[in-house]
């Protein structure tokens, strides 16, 4: 028999309850936990890992995690609506390939080639968005399909080639630092602008409220006038467009190749979920996600510096992901074991008495 305890823990919302003092409302959130963990790991690494306090650490940290950070922005919104996009890394490879082909084979000027790549990215998003939003197909299945499709096209177009030799002005621009010698690369500025734009879109606009509503209860969202299909289509196209930016970045920083960024989508999703977004939709925030991305990046960087082999990092991140998801449930369960602590109905679960709509647990699973 499933207990109501656990059902509720999963469905719980993070609308801050204003019955508590402000400080508590800030501290007792999932996002705070991620920020705190990030701070702890960072301080620990600075203190005890040789080389971590060097001037290059932050610089490389951003260079390396830029694609994940970019992709995590639209992914956050998509997961909040209860959908998922597994095809972002393949879109990245495909747009990178198109950038290379447009620049070297079609001899377009570099900026025109960038335009081609972005258009291709938007088209990829359009394909996903149309299938998910208008044909109402499950996004998991659709994007597993386009994951293979876009990757196959990228590998098909490029074959054995890897394209480099983009204009130095642009590749150098990537490596430049703010103010010439600070430890922040120059592209952190556009990255931050984009992150703020997504943050405003999600947290301060009607569109963003609609995103949450769809994830919480799409029926209710429709009744309040949210255009669900249009919202989803826009989100998937944003994902495609941003994936194109990530693809351009990757091509400039390394090369355009059919097999670049393989499996990156899993890292992006891991970072988003670690940042406190619920895979069931309806819950999560952009600052939390950014902290999640940085947390994974810092752990990676610190452990590598410490000479820890890659697979150990993989185990740690895997466990972290699992732990972050089950921790709330586990804790509620444990506190439920303490007699008299938390009174709750003893009756077996009954949909009628659950305050949430019946299929809330599976609300992400609607087709």
């Amino acid at each position: 028999m499933s207990t109501p305890t656990i059902d509720r823990a999963v469905d719980e919302r993070t609308y801050a309850s204003y019955a508590r003092p402000l400080l508590w409302r800030l501290v007792a959130t999932r996002e705070f936990a991620v920020f705190a963990l990030l701070a702890i790991v960072y301080v620990y690494a600075r203190g005890s890992i040789v080389g971590f306090d060097g001037p290059l650490t932050i610089y490389f940290l951003f260079l390396e995690s830029a694609p994940i950070m970019l992709l995590a922005l639209p992914m956050t919104l998509i997961i909040i609506t209860g959908e998922i996009d597994l095809s972002v890394a393949s879109t990245m490879a495909l747009t990178g390939a198109m950038l290379g082909i447009a620049y070297t084979k079609w001899d377009l000027p570099f900026l025109a080639a960038v335009g081609v790549a972005i258009v291709v990215g938007l088209l990829c998003g359009l394909v996903n968005g149309f299938l998910v939003a208008y044909l109402k197909l499950p996004s998991l299945a659709v994007t597993v399909g386009t994951l293979a499709l876009f990757r196959g096209l990228a590998e098909g177009f490029l074959g054995t080639e890897s394209i480099s030799g983009f204009p130095e002005r642009w590749t150098d621009l990537l490596k430049d630092r703010i103010g010439g010698d600070s430890s922040y690369p120059l592209f952190v500025i556009p990255l931050a602008v984009l992150a703020i734009a997504f943050g405003v879109l999600l947290h301060f606009t009607t569109f963003g409220r609609g995103v949450y509503e769809i994830g919480l209860n799409d029926e209710a969202a429709r009744f309040t006038g949210v255009d669900i299909a249009r919202t989803k289509l826009i989100l998937f196209m944003l994902a495609g467009g941003v994936a194109a930016l990530a693809g351009i970045y990757q091509s400039l920083y390394t090369v355009a190749r059919g097999d670049s960024a393989v499996n990156l989508e899993l890292q992006v999703i891991a970072a988003v979920l670690l940042g406190g977004v619920s895979i069931f939709g309806g819950r999560g925030s952009l600052p939390g996600v950014l902290a999640g991305v940085l947390l994974i990046a810092v752990i990676n960087s610190a452990m590598r510096l410490d000479g820890v082999r890659g697979e150990v990092t993989e185990i740690v991140i895997g466990c972290l992901l699992v732990a972050s998801v089950i921790a709330p449930t586990l804790l509620t369960w444990i506190s439920g074991l303490v007699p008299g602590r938390v009174p709750r109905p003893a009756a077996p679960p009954s949909v009628g008495t659950t305050p949430e709509p019946p299929a809330s647990g599976g609300s992400s699973l609607k087709s």
Partner: protein, 348 residues
């Protein structure tokens, strides 16, 4: 109640994740590597700290080359640490390891590059902080020195010579390569094509397939190759993973003994197939020697004995003296042919 629950949940997340992360960070025994890395930087010092970055960890070939470089380090009194991507070998997978070595300020990097150009930005950043970069096995455009296993021409010629000999100088052959982007593979394949055209008019190269240095893919590609080309006489696989997978397929198929197989293989993996007659002869250099030479070259660069200019000479332990050739290339020697007469003498 709800509030309390939520607060506790958040704290639990914190506690759980923190404990996982911290124990993992603290527990591993790799801590001392960092210390060594930090102290040995710069040039001219008594000992060199070298970071070895193979294409991927867990490959017996690179296992041997790392062992060789560590043997060398003991002789010249330096330190070699091996790091690198596990599993997938995408073009960008080596970048983070180069960056980490840059942060640590090691003396030299010894890299087998997964892509000719993808690593250049990060390699240049390493060179900016005075780290010497030596490539071995597979080259990039921006290193100080390339330690080549044998010159590409010699490798290509040797393999074509072997296959031509085994199929009697005429018929269809195919190539089973590693990743489609592998620098060295594509260079050899190009040279093999030229050699075939110039010297073996009766041999047809009908197909080139890519096994990605993955057992299963190479195995399946071999099967597909034999099906798609029923008249195939021979297969050349210039990669250790590929030739072993192809040999394993052939040894259980009706083509055993009918389709010749040669290429570059590791004796320990190929012994079974030499013994059962699937393969008669194949070639390779000694990867242990290759790593040994690369480490000595890196050490010579760090100590300032050579600068990577053509004509520079240095001594590589018991391998003797080497001279830097054109374009900063040092060549190990000619590939070595293994067959039933000598295979028992090697164990890498």
């Amino acid at each position: 109640m709800k509030i309390k629950k939520r607060r506790l949940s958040a704290l639990a997340v914190l506690a759980l994740t923190a404990s996982v992360a911290l124990t993992a960070c603290g527990s591993d025994d790799g801590g001392d590597d960092g210390d060594d890395g930090g102290s040995g930087g710069g040039g001219g010092g008594g000992s060199s700290s070298i970071t070895m970055i193979p294409k991927s960890l867990g490959n017996p070939y690179f296992e041997a080359s790392t062992a060789g470089s560590q043997r060398a380090a003991e002789e010249f009194g330096g330190q070699v640490d091996e790091v690198g991507p596990t599993g997938d070998a995408g073009p960008d997978s080596q970048v983070p390891f180069i960056q980490t070595a840059t942060q640590q300020g090691v003396g030299a990097l010894v890299v087998s590059a997964n892509d000719p150009t993808a690593l250049c930005d990060s390699i240049e950043q390493a060179q900016d902080v005075d780290i010497k970069v030596v490539t071995f096995d597979s080259d990039t455009e921006c290193r100080d020195l390339f330690v080549s296993q044998a010159d590409a021409q010699g490798i290509a010629t040797k393999q074509i010579e072997l296959i031509a000999d085994q199929i009697g100088g005429a018929g269809d052959i195919a190539i089973l390569s590693a990743a489609a982007n592998a620098t060295n593979q594509n260079e050899w394949i190009g040279l093999m094509e030229e050699d075939l055209e110039a010297n073996y008019p009766d041999i047809n190269l009908v197909d080139t397939v890519y096994g990605d240095d993955d057992d299963q893919k190479s195995f399946d590609e071999t099967a597909a190759l034999l099906r798609a080309n029923p008249d195939l006489k021979g297969i050349v696989s210039p990669t250790t993973v590929g030739i072993a997978a192809a040999a394993r397929y052939l040894s259980t198929s009706e083509f055993k003994g009918k389709v010749a197989l040669t290429g570059l293989g590791a004796p320990s993996q190929m012994k079974t197939f030499i013994d059962d007659g699937t393969v008669t002869a194949f070639a390779l250099w000694n990867p242990d020697d290759l790593g040994y030479l690369a480490a000595f070259a890196a050490d010579a660069l760090v100590k300032g004995d050579i600068s990577g200019e053509e004509g520079d000479t240095f001594t590589a332990g018991d391998l003797g003296d080497y001279t830097v050739g054109a374009d900063g290339v040092v060549v190990l020697g000619d590939p070595y042919v293994f067959d039933s007469s000598n295979i028992d003498e090697f164990d890498f």
